[in-house]
Amino acid sequence: MGDEVLHNTLKVQRAMRDLTQADLATMAGVTRKSVNAIETGRMVPSVLLALKLAGALGVPVDALFSIRGGPDHR
């Protein structure tokens, strides 16, 4: 449980759509700093924010976030 980390593909998904952090932040209604903090793994977003980001990128949440490490390694 303690070794589990939240992995995200935010940067990849963003790059595929040629979006900047500021672009994605505007689309999701947050600040660029939040997007930056999530991308660099410094912040674990709430379910609400994860859904907003997934909605803004048009992908399911589990395509954006996954759990790495621990017994339930996916």
């Binding site: 940067k11 963003r14 505007t26 600040t31 660029r32 700093k33 903090a37 991308e39 410094r42 912040m43």
Partner: protein, 157 residues
């Protein structure tokens, strides 16, 4: 996607950051003056304070005007989507909570040395100096830690 809305967001973000820095500087200055007055009620600063205290609101208005000028003709509208995004931002809220917890620990840890230092003063002055120092120290630690936690990692566009 980059356009006027994005640059407005960036302007608002910078405005928010600068405002916090300005509040930090103002608060440390006012706190320092209050501490000096508490420590040396007969000192030069204490004698000059009634004459120059009228300048404090003027200085605050000037600083607020200067900060507003950095918005480049725009104005801070709390109902604007960019302002709401900043005020309700998760990263910001998380850092506020982290900074308040850390500042609380800093203030608690500072009580012993402050007590030893200011406890030697006569009672009303000592208590006043202790209160002023604790408030200034706590708020300064909170804002400084918040600004430190909020800094961006330089990664991505």
């Amino acid at each position: 996607m980059t356009g006027s809305i994005d640059s407005r967001s960036e302007r608002y973000l910078r405005f928010s950051h600068r405002s916090m820095v300005a509040v930090l500087v103002l608060m440390v200055m006012i706190g320092t003056v209050a501490l000096v007055v508490a420590l040396r009620p007969d000192g030069v600063i204490s004698q000059w304070l009634p004459r120059v205290s009228v300048l404090v609101p003027v200085a605050i208005v000037l600083i607020a005007g200067a900060l507003r000028a950095t918005l480049g003709g725009d104005r801070w509208t709390p109902d604007a989507p960019e302002a709401r995004a900043i005020l309700q931002d998760e990263w910001r809220r998380m850092n506020m909570a982290r900074a308040s917890r850390a500042a609380f620990v800093v203030v608690l840890a500072a009580q012993v040395p402050l007590g030893l230092w200011l406890g030697m003063l006569p009672s009303p002055r000592g208590v006043m100096a202790m209160a002023v120092t604790t408030m200034t120290f706590g708020l300064a630690a909170f804002i400084a830690l918040f600004l430190y936690f909020e800094r961006s990692a330089h990664d991505g566009g």
